[in-house]
């Protein structure tokens, strides 16, 4: 069962902080520990920064996933930017603009449990899920 | 060892004054800068008076510059080459296709 929790628009750099905060609060509510909260917040940072830097405008969506035995936080980053031409390329380590800081989409993928990306010239949707540890 | 690049521009002529060594480490920065100038200016001259070492990577850069200048119908020339640097142009036959003016220390 999915339940939409909230949605945060990304328009300016400051919104990245707002998205982090919102994500962290939901993570805390759903019972994630402090490391996972920090990971979720960092993943949101990356996703929101990508929107802010490359698409200018977009939004981050939060959903609760009820499953047995764990609870999931599903985060969807959506924009109408120019899209990513070669997804497999940006998913390669060392490719990201982070300059070897391990960030970028591969970093997000590692921080979370599930990762999916769809990109066309009409925009990009990145969906990630983190499950509570049992 | 480093390569230092000074540039002087007036109207259509640009001069790049190089000092140091041109090798595999310094060639990329030189290439980027030089090709940009060759595209932009009608005449580009490279002063090699203070270049005491150049290896074959450097030749590659100047050949690229020559080709680019031909495509852009601009002038490209090298001035004030030291003897050992000129030797490379002489051996490779590039002195016949690249405009070279003045070699220092007597030249060849």
């Amino acid at each position: 069962m999915n339940e939409t929790l909230s949605s945060v628009p990304i328009r300016k750099e400051w919104d990245i902080v707002g998205a982090r905060q919102t994500g962290r609060n939901w993570a805390k509510d759903l019972g994630f520990g402090s490391v996972d909260q920090a990971r979720i917040a960092t993943a949101i940072s990356e996703l929101a920064r990508n929107i802010y830097l490359y698409a200018k405008v977009g939004e981050i969506n939060f959903e609760r996933l009820d499953s047995v035995p764990s609870i999931g936080l599903k985060i969807t980053a959506r924009d109408q930017g120019p899209g990513i031409k070669e997804v497999s390329k940006v998913m390669k380590d060392g490719y990201s603009t982070s300059g070897g800081l391990g960030a970028g989409l591969p970093g997000v993928k590692r921080l979370m449990d599930e990762f999916d990306i769809e990109s066309t010239d009409a925009g990009t949707v990145v969906t990630v899920i983190k499950w509570t540890r049992i | 060892m480093n390569l230092h690049i000074d540039d002087f521009k007036n109207d259509d002529v640009a001069t790049l004054k190089l000092s140091g060594e041109i090798d595999a480490y310094t060639a990329p920065q030189l290439k980027e800068k030089l090709l940009g100038y060759v595209k932009e200016y009608d005449e580009v001259q490279v002063d090699l008076e203070k270049v005491n070492y150049m290896d074959s990577t450097g030749l590659g850069v100047f050949i690229s510059a020559l080709k680019t200048s031909k495509e852009n119908e601009s002038k490209f020339k090298l001035i004030n080459l030291q003897e050992n640097v000129y030797r490379l142009f002489n051996i490779t036959g590039l002195n016949e296709v690249i405009d070279i003016e003045n070699t220092v220390q007597g030249g060849m």
Partner: protein
């Protein structure tokens, strides 16, 4: 990812022991623990969290500000963790790449293999060593049905894998000449067209091509911007430069190369090399060409292969066994 329950227990156990005893042996075990964690690719933020969780158990009435400070530290460590994970992946990839390059280098050796011709009148020796894994130098022998010998020595400007591709192309172009076409001028004219047409901007080739006529003992040669060769004359015991002017390959599409020839007497030695030999330097000092020639001369009484091996060893030592450039030298000694 994620640490095991027992890992957490271990950490808490170690920490408690250390707080009680302050013993060095506990610190040593902590070192083992961290090595173990690295092997299991447990990231730094996990360790900080374990520390925090253990502390909460050990000191239940911890100050709230200290608790918050741990949250802060964990956040700060997350990026280190990400960089660490990436490093891990990249390192594995590097190992993989390295082995692939090794395979490519082997394949290059196989593809570019050339047999040193065995003829009565000449003693021939060659030494070619790559500075990195892929060799940017190339040499090739052709022998026709009369036993005449063609030798090509080339240096690709722009090293590494692209150079290796370029060289395979040159080799197959060289092999496609029929046996009565192996005259230097003709070969360089044609190879130049092949290189100019097929090689991307930024890569150039210098080549020396020689043809030894075993009937007349004339050595015919042409050079496409290559380092000049030398003949050590038996009679004068002096080197004579053999150079033919010519533009390096791949710069212009139509170039006509100059061909020269010279008579080779018995016990004369023809020496050909790439600039890895004449441009080798140690420390800040370049080796003068004369020094190179002196070294060659000092070994000239030896059989051809021993000459090139000895010259190589000499310069290898001079450069502290670290070649800066590919090194190729070929020696042809007329023995009959």
């Amino acid at each position: 990812m994620g640490s095991t329950k027992s890992g957490k227990q271990d950490y808490k156990q170690l920490l408690m022991e250390y707080l009680e005893t302050g013993d060095e042996s506990v610190l040593y075990r902590a070192e083992q623990f961290s090595k173990n964690s690295i092997q299991q690719s447990i990231s730094p933020d996990e360790i900080v969290n374990e520390h925090y969780q253990s502390l909460l158990d050990i000191i239940p009435d911890m100050d709230d500000r200290i608790k918050s400070s741990f949250q802060f530290l964990i956040e700060t460590m997350i990026s280190y963790g990400m960089a660490y994970q990436e490093y891990h992946v990249l390192r594995e990839k590097q190992i993989e790449l390295r082995s692939e390059i090794g395979v490519a280098a082997n394949m290059q050796d196989t593809l570019l293999k050339t047999q040193v011709p065995q003829v009565d009148s000449l003693d021939i020796g060659v030494k070619s060593v790559a500075a990195k894994e892929m060799n940017g130098d190339y040499h090739h022998f052709i022998i026709d049905d009369k036993g005449n010998i063609g030798i090509a020595i080339a240096d690709v400007i722009g090293k590494g894998i692209p150079a290796a591709f370029c060289m395979s192309m040159i080799k197959y172009a060289l092999e496609s000449f029929s046996e009565n076409q192996i005259f230097p001028k003709y070969i360089l004219d044609s190879i130049n067209r092949v290189v100019e047409r097929n090689v991307k901007e930024g890569m150039f080739v210098t080549m020396f091509y020689g043809f030894y006529d075993v009937d007349t003992n004339y050595f015919h040669y042409a050079s496409a911007g290559h380092e000049p060769g030398f003949i050590l004359r038996k009679e004068s015991h002096e080197f004579e430069e053999i150079d033919a002017k010519g533009l390096l390959l791949g710069v212009e599409s139509e170039v006509t190369y100059e061909e020269k020839f010279t008579q080779i007497e018995k016990d004369d030695i023809i020496v050909l090399f790439t600039d890895g030999v004449t441009e080798c330097r140690y420390g800040d000092r370049f080796i003068e060409q004369e020094e190179v020639l002196d070294v060659i001369k000092s070994f000239s009484h030896l059989p051809a292969q021993e000459i090139v091996d000895s010259v190589y060893k000499y310069f290898e030592r001079l450069q502290d066994f670290e070649l800066r450039d590919d090194f190729t030298i070929a020696v042809l000694k007329r023995i009959k």
